[in-house]
């Protein structure tokens, strides 16, 4: 296999990342995220009708019942319906609403699930979620800085922040619902993408020490090539299970699986381009990773 000169394309990649980030920022500032019930508060009810049902009818029934501002969408099949009431309705209103719909329907209506989230919970959750992400990034910065070197840590954190922002952008642009499980997925992506970045960084460090006659740029390229096989195989196996989860895992897990799929894709890309490019931009040198040289250490070079 010919080795790929990854770093030649780093400016193109930087422009690409910049573009994605720009889109993210624009989308987030204009339409924010489609916050799920966990964050906005309110009542959500999943109903199962015995035979297919017309959403327009349900909306009319709800209006007659005095439930204004209720959102009615189908959920998976034409027999499953999701109703969302805004936060202004109290916690007792959900059960009453189910009765209204049962009374109006000419068929059996089964309540599959009902969720009520009070306003105080949502705000707190958003705060906690943001805090968790910052905390994760901070601790990673410290651990990697300690185990490797601060430039590697910066590279890793820049790559992670890049991934998180782009997933947020993806959810903002596609208007997919951003709920608690998506937040968990993003945190899992931080873990996953970090895993990738560490593996690449580890190799760059090793090669910086080993290959004496090459500029850092060349060393990074060699390292990326060496780890490429592993990076692709791991991403592939992870994506295989995630695709299975997204397709067969059901609607409650769909957002979670999609967030992870996007995250793993972008994480794979970022561990190749963002972390390494940042590392070069920060001016990593052989001295940064130098260890007190032991006499007679094996210095055999690998010919790329």
């Amino acid at each position: 296999m010919k080795s790929i000169a990854f770093m030649k394309g780093r400016f193109v990649a930087a422009a690409f990342s910049g573009l994605l980030l720009l889109a993210t920022v624009v989308s987030l500032s204009f339409q924010q995220l489609n916050w799920g019930l966990d964050f906005t508060g309110g009542t959500l009810i999943e109903l199962n009708y015995d035979s297919s049902v017309d959403l327009g009818n349900i909306r009319d029934q709800l209006l007659t019942g005095g439930y204004e501002g209720a959102m009615v969408v189908s959920f998976g099949t034409d027999r499953d319906v999701l109703v969302r009431l805004p936060i202004s309705y109290s916690d007792a209103e959900g059960a009453r609403m189910v009765e209204v719909l049962r009374g109006a329907a000419s068929q059996k209506v089964t309540m599959q699930r009902m969720e009520f989230v009070g306003p105080q919970v949502g705000d707190e959750l958003r705060e906690q979620g943001g805090l968790a992400m910052l905390l994760a990034l901070g601790l990673v910065l410290i651990y990697v800085g300690f185990r490797f070197q601060i430039k590697f840590a910066m590279g890793a954190v820049i790559a992670l922040a890049h991934d998180v922002l782009i997933i947020l952008g993806f959810f903002s642009i596609t208007r997919l619902e951003f709920d608690l499980s998506v937040l968990a997925a993003i945190l899992a992506v931080i873990g996953y993408s970090l895993n990738d970045t560490i593996v690449v960084s580890d190799r760059i460090r090793e090669n910086l020490r080993k290959i004496r006659k090459m500029e850092p740029l060349g060393v990074v390229d060699v390292s990326l090539n060496e780890t490429l096989g592993r990076t692709l195989v791991t991403s592939l196996t992870t994506m295989l299970v995630l695709t299975s989860l997204a397709v067969f895992g059901g609607d409650m897990i769909f957002g979670f699986a999609i967030a992870l799929l996007v995250g793993v894709t972008i994480g794979t890309y970022s561990s190749i381009y963002v972390a390494s490019t940042s590392l070069l931009a920060l001016g990593v040198t052989k001295e940064d990773v130098a260890i007190p040289v032991k006499e007679g250490e094996d210095q055999e070079a690998v010919i790329p």
């Binding site: 969720e115 919970v121 990697v144 945190l187 895993n195 560490i198 593996v199 580890d202 299970v241």
Partner: protein, 635 residues
């Protein structure tokens, strides 16, 4: 010799994996839908005839059942049902047949065989999103609790100042009480009086010459009030949840002032909320004397098992009710005897002193009042049976101590048998105090069919994902792929075993965590195999390639996994409910995968290839480098 594990190491790995299989095994046995019968007051035992009555009721209704047994020394009975669909119907039938004296609860009875039970192997618990049920999050109103405490202070200070004949005006201002006096001397007198009464208050004045004083409630005191309010609500809720007929309820504190209640199997949220939100109360009344006319006295049973069958005649007049109790705490007197210290609010103290002054040496009874329901069954106009629940108050005597002297706002009940009795009594006395109102801030109901569907979908996607990964590994890594797949299987088994041992709850995100672990667990193997391939490509001999391949990959694997573990731990610390479930699976998965991928794989590789001459490793395509090929040719 290269690549040989000592025997003990192989045995150790085999042992761990064998234990993994043992502790994971209970999860293979699906639980039976069942009904659990218990006495509603704890006094009624469950006996053979009762179980026969229950069985008969089920037979008459044509509901298939088996395996009736009496458990917990006759405290509960269990009947297993043949089909899950009939569980709710069977519950209603049994409840009707047995009456209000018994509680019939939905239950999932484990079917773990004896050879597993004897090693205390248990299946994982299913979260509400998988089993169906209700989840509530309640919030204790901290502000109300603080306000009540402030009022208590204000009343206390007012009373003390009156006693000390200091005239002044009191006003509540936020978290402090402002006092205005006529003179600086009055202020100083008040200062020492308040300091003596409530040393925990922070006293401050505006200026030397201004006759004003501020008593501020400190942060610590407020924190204590909140702590107390939450703890009390927790205990009250636990007691009430037991009435709901749920076999494995969860009542747990979350954060500063939240309480999570999870009731598996329950579908009727309105009923659950009514019982959780109900108020218990207390009444203090004098014990009737021999000459008290019958029209002015009432007879009550004692509460609790130890005083079963004892009764007490009390006067009809109520001295005070539970709302007047601002605190009750279990404590010890100077002789080390257990007692309960009771504090009443200002008005309560006044009423108490008026009632007891003339009645020293008589006894005073404390009544505990609980709202209960009687169930009736009636036919409506369509001929369908409707369940009607009529509320009534059940009043029982907690204790009836002798009044030793005229009582005021603070007094104590002595002569208790044990510290356990005093803390129980203090708890019951506080139940009427309602330390702080609670409100529902979150509520989730999952129907049982949705729960079953979630399990099915989760398992299906896990199977498919696993199959795809296995296929890929076999094609890509050949014999080494087989080894990786064996390691992956062992990892899954160990993951399930550890989760079961930790009695972790399996939730839908938890299943997602397992699925994700499958994808990521092969990563360690991929790293190792990639290294071995590289070594081979560089022309290293097979044995040496295996050796250094493992050696070099291990540090990378450790670094990568520890960082992921950091993230998982944060997820656990910050997340709630399902997210926590995901974090647990992820962390356990990372740890077990490191064991199976590094040690397990190595053992298998050593057994297949180690310690002998191997010409070729079956690890998929290795791209020989030009230099390496020539080197091998000369070798």
């Amino acid at each position: 010799m290269l690549n040989r594990y000592p025997l003990w190491k192989n045995l150790f790995i085999t042992l761990i994996v064998a234990m993994g299989f043992y502790y994971a095994a209970p999860n293979l046995y699906a639980p039976d839908p069942a009904l659990q019968i218990g006495g509603s007051s704890g006094a009624q035992g469950i006996n053979g005839p009762l179980m026969d009555r229950a069985s008969q009721a089920l037979s008459e209704a044509g509901i298939g059942y088996f395996g009736e047994e009496i458990q917990a020394l006759g405290k509960t009975g269990l009947i297993r049902l043949e089909s899950r669909e009939q569980q709710l119907k069977a519950q209603a039938i049994l409840q009707r047949a047995l009456g209000d004296g018994y509680i019939v609860a939905l239950n999932l009875a484990p079917t773990t065989p004896d050879w597993l039970v004897s090693g205390s192997a248990r299946p994982m618990k299913l979260g509400l999103d998988l089993s169906g049920g209700v989840h509530f999050k309640l919030e204790v109103d901290v502000d109300a609790a603080t306000d009540r405490k402030l009022e208590h202070y204000e009343n206390g200070i007012k009373r003390r100042l009156r006693e000390e004949r200091i005239r002044g005006r009191l006003a509540l201002e936020g978290t402090r009480i402002g006092m205005t006096f006529r003179s600086v001397e009055d202020r100083e007198a008040a200062r020492s009086a308040v300091k003596d009464l409530y040393p925990e208050l922070l006293l401050d004045r505006v200026d030397e010459d201004v006759p004003q004083l501020f008593a501020e409630v400190t942060e610590t005191t407020i924190a204590e009030v909140v702590e107390y309010a939450v703890a009390q609500n927790l205990t009250t809720l636990r007691n009430r949840v037991n009435e709901l007929g749920v076999s494995e309820p969860l009542v747990q504190r979350q954060g500063k002032n939240r309480i999570v209640v999870e009731l598996p199997g329950i579908q009727d949220t309105a009923e659950a909320k009514r019982i959780l939100g109900k108020v218990a109360n207390l009444e203090f009344r004098l014990v009737a004397e021999a000459n008290t006319p019958i029209s002015e006295r009432q007879r009550f049973d004692y509460r609790g098992e130890s005083r079963q069958g004892m009764t007490e005649w009390l006067e009809r007049d109520i001295i005070i009710t539970g709302e007047r109790v601002s605190n009750a705490a279990a404590s010890f007197d100077q002789n080390g005897q257990p007692n309960v210290q009771i504090t009443l609010d200002g008005e309560g103290g006044m009423l108490m002193s008026r009632a007891t002054r003339a009645n020293v040496k008589r006894r005073m009874g404390v009544l505990f009042i609980e709202r209960k329901y009687r169930t009736r069954y009636e036919n409506d106009e369509n001929g369908e049976t409707v369940v009607i629940r009529d509320p009534y108050d059940e009043k029982k005597v907690l204790t009836a101590p002798v009044i030793q002297s005229a009582l005021g706002a603070q007094f104590q009940i002595t002569g208790l048998d044990s510290p356990a009795e005093s803390s129980e009594l203090a708890l019951m006395l506080r139940a009427g105090a309602l330390a702080a109102p609670i409100s529902f801030v979150e509520e989730r109901t999952v129907g049982p069919s949705l729960g079953a569907e979630n399990i099915e979908l989760g398992v299906k996607s896990l199977q498919l994902g696993l199959a795809l990964v296995v296929l890929f590994m076999l094609v890509y890594y050949r014999v080494f792929g087989v080894i990786a797949v064996v390691a992956l299987t062992a990892n899954l088994v160990l993951l399930v075993a550890v989760m079961s041992l930790l009695s972790a709850t399996l939730t839908l995100p938890g299943i997602a965590g397992i699925v994700l672990t499958v994808g990521m667990a092969v990563d360690a193997n991929v790293l190792i195999f990639a290294r071995i391939r590289e070594e081979l490509a560089a022309g290293t001999s097979s044995q040496l390639a295996i050796h250094s391949g493992f050696e070099r990959a291990v540090t990378t694997i450790l670094d990568a996994n520890i960082t992921t573990l950091i993230v998982a731990i944060i997820l656990y610390a910050v997340g709630t409910g399902p997210i926590k479930g995901f974090a647990v699976t992820l962390s356990v998965g990372i740890i077990t995968s490191m064991f199976t991928a590094i040690m397990g794989t190595r053992a298998l590789v050593n057994i297949s290839y180690g310690g002998r001459r191997v010409d070729r490793l079956s690890i998929g395509r290795v791209r020989m480098r030009a230099a390496a090929v020539s080197k091998e040719a000369t070798a």
